[in-house]
């Protein structure tokens, strides 16, 4: 049986993991919302963040510089990705764009492999992250605390940006009806670049948090992040930003609690069970757990 303190501990684990997934899902959903495309090269932005942090560390940069540099690199890479790979294909079919993003991901992984190494490279992080604080019977690591804190702050700031700023309103309009947004004067290229920039920003922040946990980077580092982001945003309803956040936390909790509660013999199938639950959710609610049913446009 799971004791109350173990339960509380797992809850903290779920929140910390969920906040990274939420950032990732939001980043993927952001671009989907505006462009209707799934950018599977999104995971490579996390990898780029990590390699940038490694590069800066090798040049003696302190961690805050590594973190900011890593996020910055992801933003630039995301914008460039759109300009170079996706913009020439504007208006192409969903499948074309999907495959293009696979190609970009594969290409980047090859570049990492050839130019850096196919092996994991260690990324130094502050030893402060390894400390923990005790709250009653629950021990909370400093890193999970920072993760949850940074995640929550980023989500709040992004929400404010999307609600209050003109650019945020333009983005929301574009994700509801791109053609009409242009008729109203929303600049297509600018709003798409902005969506990729924010997507990169979220990948970068999630990447810093992710690497702070793994302390290593390899060419395939982006694989798990994109997979989790994809599942979480599907759960939340693709393109639905609030849903993406909810989907991220839901997925984090689902993974932690399956691992915590499934009997040993079934554990190897935990991932299959998680996917089964997700498929079941989508069967009942194709628009996602948190998505509103989209009205058919006349």
């Amino acid at each position: 049986m799971v004791s109350p303190s173990e339960f509380a501990q797992q809850l903290v684990n779920a929140l910390s993991l969920g906040s990274i997934y939420a950032l990732l899902a939001l980043g993927l959903s952001m671009v989907y919302g505006v462009l209707g495309m799934l950018n599977f090269a999104f995971g490579e932005l996390v990898t780029i963040t990590a390699y940038t942090m490694l590069f800066l560390a090798n040049h003696g940069a302190p961690f805050p510089v590594m973190a900011i540099g890593g996020v910055f690199a992801a933003v630039i890479a995301s914008i460039l990705m759109e300009l170079v790979a996706f913009r020439p294909l504007r208006g192409a079919s969903f499948v074309t764009l999907l495959f293009t993003s696979f190609a970009v991901a594969e290409l980047l992984q090859n570049v990492f492999r050839q130019a850096i190494s196919s092996r994991p490279k260690g990324v130094p992080v502050p030893s402060l992250f390894d400390n923990a604080v005790r709250v009653g019977s629950v021990r909370i690591g400093v890193l999970p605390l920072i993760t949850a804190g940074v995640g929550a702050t980023a989500l709040v700031l992004l929400t404010l940006f999307m609600r209050r700023s003109r650019s945020g309103i333009a983005m929301r309009a574009a994700s509801q009806d791109f053609a009409t947004a242009r008729l109203v004067g929303v600049r297509a290229n600018r709003v798409i670049s902005l969506a990729f920039a924010i997507s990169g920003l979220l990948a970068g922040i999630a990447g810093v948090l992710w690497i702070s946990r793994t302390t290593a980077v390899q060419p395939t580092t982006g694989f798990v992040p994109i997979l989790e982001a994809f599942i979480a945003s599907v759960i939340g309803g693709l393109g639905n930003l609030r849903g993406a956040v909810a989907g991220g936390f839901f997925l984090g909790a689902l993974e932690v609690f399956l691992q915590a509660t499934l009997p040993g013999k079934i554990l190897p199938f935990a991932q299959a069970v998680a996917l089964l639950i997700v498929v079941a959710i989508l069967y009942v609610r194709p628009q996602g757990l948190f998505g509103r049913r989209v009205e058919a446009k006349v």
Partner: protein, 399 residues
Amino acid sequence: MRRSWRIGALLLAVFALVAGACSANTGSSSASSSESSSGGTFLIGFPGDFSSTYAFYDEPIKEGAQFAIDQINASGGVLGNTLELQALDNRNDVAETSKLTQQLLDQGAKWLIGTTGDGILAEGSQACAANIPVSTGDGTAPTLVGDMGPCAYQLIMSDNVQGATLAEYAIKQGYKTAYVLGSTEIPYTKNLPTYFTKAFENAGGTVTGTDQFKIGAGDYSAVVTKIASADPAPDAIFTPMFVPDTQVFLRQLRQAGVTIPVLSTDGNLDPSLPDAGAKALNGFTFTASACPPGPDNPKIQQFYADYKAKYGKDPSSVIAVLGYDEIYALKSIIEAQNSTDPQAILAGLPNVSYDGVSGQIQMDPTTRRAKKSAWMVKMDGASFTCLGQPGYPTFVPSA
């Protein structure tokens, strides 16, 4: 060690489709073709992965083999024959491995070094079809020789030896109970927990808890919380985890306040490990095919010094000594049989006994696996320290 990466079937399948257009690597051969002098040329083929996932293992094997060959040729070769290495890049592609193996056999290769990559079984079956001896290279799975074919031999430490060595070590440390964390995703992480458990229980230890981890998950907090809540707490944790997962697991474990010693295997002798930090790593102990060079292992240290003197740089990893030892073991067979004929070599292989840089290679003719001891490495803070070779375990579970 040998492992295959977890495959997110859906995505990678599509990646792979697209990859065809992108992959720009072409097979690069890096053989040093020295024309035969007085006697003939003895061709050694190595269809290895020198550019992809397993290049980390195959590349140093190639370096060590080439080093041994250069030394042997410089002192007159073997029975008047010049050794020649043909190392061709299989890019971790099974079909490519198969093609290259055939090419090497057609060129008259009399010995094949096994790739650590996915094409190892193809390489083995083709070698055996041609009746040419083949090694497992850096492959540690004890099941490999059986799967590759009757001409396959393992000249390095096997995984069941790793499990048994760690079990013996645990008992010697006074650990009576252990928590075993495995993963059924790949044979390496699936079988090692079994080997460890059998050996540990055989020596009187008790496994009080088992759990499964997901390779490459990037988060093990839920597993860690379960271990932290295990009552009574185990004396030790065994897991065949490898980098970069080990870093995540150890850090989360220590953050959770769990100070139980962790025992693991050869996937951790990796330069990326120390960045997990001293707090997480201190005391972490694992087996390896060879120790990193240091004063406690003068042979390996000497190997590094000689290598650097010849090539002006270090080998890309300590795994190079395995390639080096394999060639010298081969030389000892040829000399013992007084023949370079592959059939004579196959006849001599079951009795090979050679004291290499990485330890004694004593072939067990019934299993076709060398009875070779594992090395042990312990983290002192964030640095690797060598505990040496504790010796071949008294009880080794079957494959």
